[in-house]
Structures are given as C-alpha cells and as structure tokens.
C-alpha cells in the first residue's frame, strides 16, 4: 500500500471555537511532507488527530488503511513539540528503556544520530541543552524505524548544528524509501529542501497542498509562497 496516512474532511474545535475546518490530505510511502503555517493555526492539533491522540469532531483518519489504533502505534513515531521524556533519566537509561520498550529499536541508528551531540553519559536529561535533548528525542524516534515519523516543530529554537543533525536524521529516514515523514514547522530556515510536498494551513484550512519543487518553480521559493499566501 503506497498511502500511509489519509485525512478526510477533518473538523475540530475546542470550547465552541473552530480550529480546523475540512482538512483533507494524504501521505504516500517514502515522502517527506511539511506542514506549514503560523503559530496557533492548529498544526499541533492536526498532528495529534493524524496519529490518533485526539479525535476529530467530524471527518475520518486512516493510518495504513485502518482507523488509528494501538496496533498502528508500533509503526508510527510521534515527537510532540514539548518534552516528554523522564527528566531524571540518563542517556544510557533512556536507550536501555527504548530497547526494552519498543518491538524494533536499532541502537546503531540512535548512536549515529547522537554522534556529535556530546551528551555526557552521567548527565540527566534535565541537564541537557535544548539541542542535545532534541537530538536524543529524534534518535529515539528514528531508531524505531517507523513507517510514519511525525514531528511537531522539531527545529524550533535549535542552534545551527542541532538543526543540521535533525535534518540529517530526517533525510536518513526518508532515504530508506519505506519511511515517510510529516513535519510541522513555522520557520523554513535550512530545512526547506527536505520536503517533497508542502501543506500550508491558514485560518484552520488547507491553503495549499503541492509538491515543493513546483512551489519553487511557481512562487520562486517556499518562503515567497508563504509570504504571498499568508498576506491574503
């Protein structure tokens, strides 16, 4: 099956406030899709709906052709935008836990991503820099070799080298040809080359859903497209 994720006519609101309206898109095998849009537009909500952590008010989600379920979670890795790992754990403890917890966990992939992060073995996660923690998080996700990797604002607030490490990890995953990635980001610096396809959210709706290369051909760059479409 080449379609890993499909969303159809998704609506979602909180306390009477409509956040997402009639969102539909799909993600094919081996693709990297960028979910763009300003802060607060509902990107995080949409990602949580896509992986089954939130239910839509209306519409349908299909992961691997099925409604979201715990079986699907074995094949999906989701990195939320706020820290989720135990703050007191040390690096080796985190890797040990991952090895025991996940059905698939390739330690070699994790070590490759962590190389250069210079994480002291004895430091607990709460003592790590933002960049170090981000690299640990992405390593834990990618080493699971998920068929669908969903990352919520993975580049926000990172230094240049950590951003590059994140981008390398994402490119490494897509290079396998069997892993797809859905990434939300509000900022395009150094990462715009990563995407096959772009979905732009504006006012809770899909304002654009197009191949990144054709966006570059049509608008001049992703940045230019973003500015033009957000202005209206």
């Amino acid at each position: 099956m080449s379609e890993l994720l499909r969303l159809d006519g998704i609506n979602k609101g909180f306390r009477g406030q409509q956040v997402l309206t009639d969102i539909s898109f799909s993600i094919g095998k081996g693709k990297a899709v960028g979910l763009l849009g300003p802060n607060g537009v509902g990107k995080s909500t949409l990602l949580k709906i896509a992986v089954g952590l939130l239910s839509p008010d209306k519409g349908e989600v299909r992961i691997f052709g099925e409604p979201p379920s715990w079986q699907a979670f074995e094949r999906v890795a989701f990195l939320p935008d706020r820290g989720h790992f135990s703050r007191t754990m040390k690096l080796n403890e985190a890797l040990d836990m991952a090895l025991r917890l996940y059905p698939v966990f390739d330690l070699g992939i994790a070590e490759e991503i962590l190389e250069g992060a210079k994480i002291p073995a004895q430091a607990s996660i709460s003592e790590l820099s933002r960049g170090q923690e981000a690299r640990l998080n992405i390593a834990l996700c990618v080493a699971r070799k998920p068929e669908l990797l969903v990352l919520d604002e993975p580049f926000a607030g990172l230094d240049i080298l950590s951003r590059e490490a994140m981008v390398d990890a994402v490119i490494g995953a897509i290079s396998t040809g069997v892993q797809s990635v859905l990434i939300s980001t509000h900022d395009l610096d150094d990462v715009e080359g990563v995407f096959d396809e772009i979905i732009l959210l504006n006012d809770g709706r899909v304002a654009l859903n197009q191949e990144a290369e054709s966006v570059r051909a049509k608008y001049g760059s992703l940045r230019q497209m973003y500015k033009e479409l957000m202005r209206v």
Partner: protein, 128 residues
C-alpha cells in the same frame, strides 16, 4: 546556501529554483569543465542529500536524469559513477558552448552590434 564540494563537483543551490534542475546542471557543468574525471564514484543518494540538505527523492530524480543521458552509471551494489565515455562529455561541452554563444550573441545584438562587428571585436579583445 553555502557551496558544498564533493567528488570534485561544487554544488550551490538557490532556494528560489527547483533543486532537481540545479543538481543536474551543476553535475553537467563540472563534467564539461573537467572538474570531475571519468569513472569517479559519486556520493550515494543519501550522502548527497545529507550534504546538500535536500530531499533524497530530489537527488534520486537528478541522478536518474543524468543516467538517462549517459553521464552517470549505477552498478548494482557498487554505487553511482561518472561515465566511462569521453564522447558523452564532449557532447555536453558542445551543448554548453552552443548555449554560451547563443547568450553572448543575444547580448551583443541587443547592444546593436552586427555579426561582423562582433567578430572584429573578438579579434581585438584581450579576453584571456
């Protein structure tokens, strides 16, 4: 974007144009100028994607395009190499030379020079 050197090829991608076309053009240019030799091992799709920070599908598409025109050859299990055939290189050199002359002629004719005047200027010019 900063320029990246790999296998004798200098890549510099402009985010305002499709990356796929730029990768193809820059490999062709490097081959035509002799900056990369025959039968040189190219980086893998993954390596080049990570170096250039672009999607591996984009690099793959560029490699496939270059393979179709014979400039790159992929051997199963061994990787991708530049062509073994000098004639393929001669063909792109000719193609790029034609393009350079067309652009030059167009610029000169826009400046109002006739063909004869251009030839005379070329004779006089110290364009080394």
């Amino acid at each position: 974007m900063e320029s990246i050197q790999v296998a004798g090829i200098t890549f510099k991608l402009d985010p305002t144009k499709p990356f796929y076309e730029q990768i193809v053009e820059q490999v062709r240019g490097a081959l035509a100028r002799g900056e990369v030799a025959l039968e040189v091992r190219m980086p893998s799709v993954r390596e080049l994607a990570q170096l250039l920070k672009v999607n591996p599908n984009t690099v793959m598409r560029a490699y496939q395009d270059l393979e179709r025109s014979g400039l790159l050859v992929t051997y199963r299990g061994q990787g991708t190499f530049t062509t073994t055939k000098q004639e393929f290189i001669d063909n792109i050199r000719q193609e790029l030379a034609d393009k350079a002359i067309r652009e030059f002629s167009k610029a000169m004719s826009q400046l109002g020079f006739t063909h004869e005047q251009v030839l005379a200027l070329m004779e006089e010019a110290d364009y080394q």
